[in-house]
Amino acid sequence: MTMNDRAVSTAVGYALALGIVTLLTIGLVMGFAPLVTGQQAEATHSTLEVLGNDLAGDIERVDHLAAAAGPNGTVVLRSELPERVGASGYQIEIDETGENQRYEIRLRSTGPETIATVGFRTGIEIDDTTGTLDGGPLEIRYDGDRLVVSEDA
């Protein structure tokens, strides 16, 4: 008779324990998932900012070189940006934000969805036909008239 009781309580005990443990694990993971995603998003955002600053720096270099080359000169600089940030790719847009060659680079990543913006100024105009560029190595060119940013092959 004692064995029967033990048998039943053992099975229930096991089921209960398993259920509680499963619930705990799920709770743990779900609780920390947003923390993890949040950390990832933050890390991605700061990386995008760094890349944006690198690109702005390279555009400023070409601007400076273009001034030295003169209206009959040409400059082509390769900006070695990585293809991905963390796990996802990203896209780059350059928009004019004000008079006198004030610009802003907008970098948008798709993995964790974050957007970073970096502002800068140039002496020479940036061509406004540049659309959305895929993150990766870019080519910054001065053709004697204005600066053109495009994807590098």
């Binding site: 933050e42 991605t44 070189l65 030295a68 080359a69 040409t74 600089l77």
Partner: protein
């Protein structure tokens, strides 16, 4: 009961271990991407290094060309030869850093001052009677002469085929402006006949042993000091730059002259040119006023082509 308790503890251990593992991995990966951003910010900036190298190269090229231009009696071909050597010497050094560099002179603006200050006939230094003073002259300034009466031809026929000393200023289309010098009177006198490109002639006479003439302004001063004006080649609309200036029958005149010609009068070096020398008469002093220089710098990351205008550097000599 004891068995069940042991089993529970075992499961709890596994579960907490797994939970910890998940937490740590997640934190690690988040920190990893953050760390990536951190070290990337501190990484070496290749773009800046390339920019400084290209600009530095252009600056040293500009300095060298400016200094070479300022050296006395440098002709365009002297400058080109020196810049070519400079290009080779620096190219070898920059190639070691993985960059291909090149500099060359595309064209120059040279001002040549031509002077004959010994009173002699108007032949060149080799004694040639008919010679070309300058071709492809984009500008002629300060052309002044003093003609003596002694050697002037007495011929009536002062035309292109006659015996008079002839100064011809011709343009690329073949239109010519001419100045003839003669002495048809029995006394000492200097007569000039100016024939413009459309055929009109003007004359000026000075009853003196010599007469000063400003060819660019078209002014002839006679024995009383009065000015006799004539149409200068600069005022002759039919004759346009670039000019070719020639002397013919240069033995039929004596005197002095100076003129400043912008263009490449001497093609190679002055020593090899039989018309001129750096001393004596006629002598030529070229001065390169400006040079257009093409500069290129190429590395795996940067392609740079610059075109600049260089003027002679300050010489502290």
């Amino acid at each position: 009961m004891a068995d069940v308790a042991r089993g529970d503890r075992g499961q709890l251990l596994i579960v907490s271990a797994i939970g910890l593992a998940i937490l740590l991995t997640a934190l690690a990966l988040a920190l990893n991407t953050a760390a990536y951003a951190g070290t990337h910010a501190a990484a070496s900036d290749n773009g800046l290094h390339e920019q400084q190298a290209a600009i530095g190269y252009q600056a040293s090229a500009e300095r060298a060309v400016a200094d070479l231009m300022a050296i006395n009696d440098t002709t365009e071909s002297d400058l080109r030869a020196a810049v070519e050597d400079w290009d080779q010497l620096t190219g070898a050094e920059y190639a070691r850093d993985g960059a291909v560099t090149h500099v060359s002179v595309t064209d120059t603006t040279v001002e040549n001052r031509i002077v004959q200050d010994d009173t002699r006939n108007f032949t060149d230094q080799s004694g040639a009677d008919n010679w070309t003073v300058a071709t492809n002259a984009t500008a002629v300034e300060g052309f002044e002469m003093v003609l003596e009466a002694t050697a002037l031809s007495s011929s009536d026929d002062c035309t292109a085929s006659g015996a008079c000393f002839t100064l011809t200023v011709e343009d690329e289309d073949g239109d010519a402006w001419r100045l003839f010098a003669s002495n048809t009177s029995e006394n000492e006198s200097v007569e000039i006949t100016v024939e413009t490109s459309n055929g009109t002639t003007e004359t000026c006479t000075a009853e003196a042993s010599s007469a000063p003439i400003n060819v660019t302004n078209g002014v002839f001063v006679d024995e009383s000091g009065a000015e006799c004006s004539f149409t200068s080649f600069t005022e002759d609309d039919g004759v346009t730059a670039p000019y070719t200036i020639r002397y013919e029958r240069a033995t039929n005149v004596t005197g002095t002259y100076t003129l400043t010609v912008t263009g490449n009068v001497v093609e190679g070096s002055i020593e090899d040119d039989e018309r001129y020398a750096t001393t004596g008469s006629p002598r030529i002093t070229p001065q390169i006023r400006a040079a257009n220089v093409s500069i290129s710098y190429q590395s795996p990351q940067l392609t740079y082509h610059g075109r600049i205008r260089v003027v002679p550097g300050d010489d502290d000599e």
